[in-house]
Structures are given as C-alpha cells and as structure tokens.
Amino acid sequence: MKVIILAVSCLLAVSGALAADTCYQDVSLDCGQASNSLAFRRRSLPRCNAVYGEYGRHGNVATELQAYANLHLERSYEYLLSAAYFNNYQTNRLGFSKLFKKLSDEAWEKTIDIIKHVTMRGDEMNFDQRSTLKVERKNYTVELHELEALAKALDTQKEIAERAFYIHREATRNSQHLHDPEIAQYLEEEFIEDQSKKIRELAGHTTDLKKFITSNNGQDLSLGLYLFDEYLQKVV
C-alpha cells in the first residue's frame, strides 16, 4: 500500500502540474538523512522558493517583465537628459524641464518597483534582457525644440503603455502554462490605469501648443512658447 502511495505521489511530482508539495518533499527528504547533514547543506532545498504557476518556465512573461524594468531605466535617464537640456541658459524652459524631470522620476521609481516584482515571483533580474518588441532607435537626441520634445515624450509614453498591453496579453493567454493573473493585475493596477491619463495629458499639451504655434499666422509663436512654459511650471 505504501509503495502505491509513494508511486502516485512521485507521478504527481513528475507531472509538474502541482507545485504544492514539492518543498515539503525536499524538506522531508533532506531532514530524514540524519546521518549525512552535508547533503542537506549542499542541496539547500531547491524547490523551496517563491516560484508558482510555472513562472518563467513557459512563454516570455518573465523575461518581458525584466525587459520592462530595463525599458523604464533607459527612458528614465533619457528623460533626465531632456530635463537638463531645457534647463540650460539658452533654452531656459523651466516648465518643460520640470515636465521631463517628473517623467524621469516616475520611470525611475517604476524601475525599482518592477525589479522588486521580478524577485517577488522568485525570478532574478537580468539587466541585459531586452524585449522581443524592442526597436532600435536611430539618431536619438534630446536636443529638440519644445513641440518636438513633447511629441517625443508622447510617443515614448505610448511605447511604454503598449509594452504593458503586450505583456498583459502574453500573461492572459488561454493556456494553463501561460495564464498569469497576478502579473496581469500588477500591470493593470500599477501601470495601465495611470498610463492612459499621462498619455491624455501629453496629447492635450501638444494640442494646446500646436494651436499657439499656428494661430495668428504664427505671430504668437514666441509669446505662446513662453506662456506655455510658464503654464507648465504651474501645473506639473
């Protein structure tokens, strides 16, 4: 009888569908070997970890989440350079600088948050990991004029938001190996909701600025840019 139970439990362990008892098995296996405590130390309970739901074993959700941290990290430092550029004495647009500084701060905080989430799910962070969606950017520069810089920020925020959609889609595929509601809800709560608001805000800014620039046959240009920067200083 005992043999049958053991055989069944082994079968369950091999099938891999349930991770439920595997740490316990490691523990009872290692703690039982009283005569050889070295084995205990060497093995250090390989299945007593935070991994569940086959995280990182199928599909690309785990690697895409690492890449998502790296995306935020890169964009954070790019935004920081934009903030610097608008704060030099020639451009001297403190409102624009403030807007980019805020984007940079937010992306930096998200970077740390995603790294923590990666490790929360029992994975480790790989700073070299890039998304399969990654598009190489050519001739990237932060030295842009006001409307160009806003346009670039809008595009970048959309890139970040669409990447969240992509990872969400990968995490909600109808397959028992890929479905990961925890990641899906993390993305929804911490990213997707706020991203729509930020994109709308930036789109609104470009609408206003474009009107200032084109109205009155372009005569309002310099005053419009000045006023808009003053406005940004107040609202950002």
Binding site: N49, A50, V51, L73, E74, Y77, L80, L81, A84, Y85, N87, N88, Y89, Q90, T91, W108, T111, I112, I115, K116, V118, T119, M120, G122, E124, M125, N126, F127, D128, Y140, T141, V142, E143, H145, E146, L147, E148, I213, T214, G218, L221, S222, L225
Partner: protein, 211 residues
Amino acid sequence: MKAILFALAGLLAVCLPASATQCHVNPVTIPKEWVTMHRNCRMSMRQQIQMEVAASLQYLAMGAHFSKDIVNRPGFAKMFFDAASEEREHAMKLIEYLLMRGELTTDVTTLLQVRAPERKTWEGGVEALEHALLMESAVTKSIRNVIKACEDDSEFNDYHLVDYLTGDFLDEQYKGQRDIAGKASTLKKLLDRHGALGEFIFDKKLIGIDI
C-alpha cells in the same frame, strides 16, 4: 506614373509643412564671457556624471540580488535601492551645477549611457558591503581627480567648482564611506561565530526591526 505621383506627393508632404510652419523660436545670441569653465574641467565633470550613473546601476543590481527569494535580505535590498537613488541624485546635482555655469547647451545626449552593471551576485551581506566600500573609494578618488583638473588649469582655476566638490561631494563621500565601513565591520564581527543568525539580525536592523 502612379509611382511618380506618389513620390512627388511624399516629397511635398515632407517639404511643404517644413516651410509653412515654424515651430520654434530662432536662437538668439547673448554675451558668452560669463561662461568660463575650461575644457579639461568640463570633460572630467562629464565623466564623473557617467560614473555616478554607473554606480546607481550597480546599486540597483545589489538591491535586486538581496530581494531574491533565496537570498531574502529586505534590509540590505532597501539600503542598496536607496543608495541607487542617491547616486542618481548625485548625477543630477552635477548636471545642475554644469547648467548653472552655462554648460550643456550642446552635447547633452551623449552625456550618459545606461549600461548593464558588471556584477550581479554576492556571497553575502559582507561581500556586498565591501564591494560598495571599494566602489565609493573609487568614486572619491575620481572626484579628487575632477578637483585637480578644475584647479590645475594654468589659465583658469575654477575656485567655485573646486569648493563645491570639496565641501559638498567629498564631505558626503567620506561620511558615506565611514557608514559603510562601520556596517561591514559590525556585520563581519557578528558573522565570526554565528553566520546565518548574524546576517539575519543585521538585515532586520537595517529595515528598522530590533529583535
């Protein structure tokens, strides 16, 4: 024929708006006599900014390591994530100084690069603290070199920047190094007899839990 039309339309689309709408104010010139920073000093400041950025990434990797389930040292993780944010702030402070002195009107995009940190695992808390201490010593040495480059210029001794780096940055470096060195010593003493217990207790202390 169609292809030619398309090409023409494309050409028009690209050229017409460019000539139709001006989106930015033409650059103006004002006296530049007040922009006095010299080349060597500027270049070493730029390198220093890159070094602070690299340090921020290395601390991020330390935070990531100590956050892992199989490491489980939230105190160390928090300390290193905080250190990463501090290094980022150091980079920002140096950038702000350059801006104050009339710098960074050009070559802003090339100021820094995000490269994956070199190291990503540590044997334990002591090894990470010792690594941090070596890293900070290297940063301190580098700041001293910036000071030299800004002071030794035969045409222009940059007194103010030298004072800023000496008073603000070196001060923070020396205090920071002392803090890390103290932590490393205390932890190492704890580990002498009671390895696992010592690091556990020290980690909880870092996160504010007294056991």
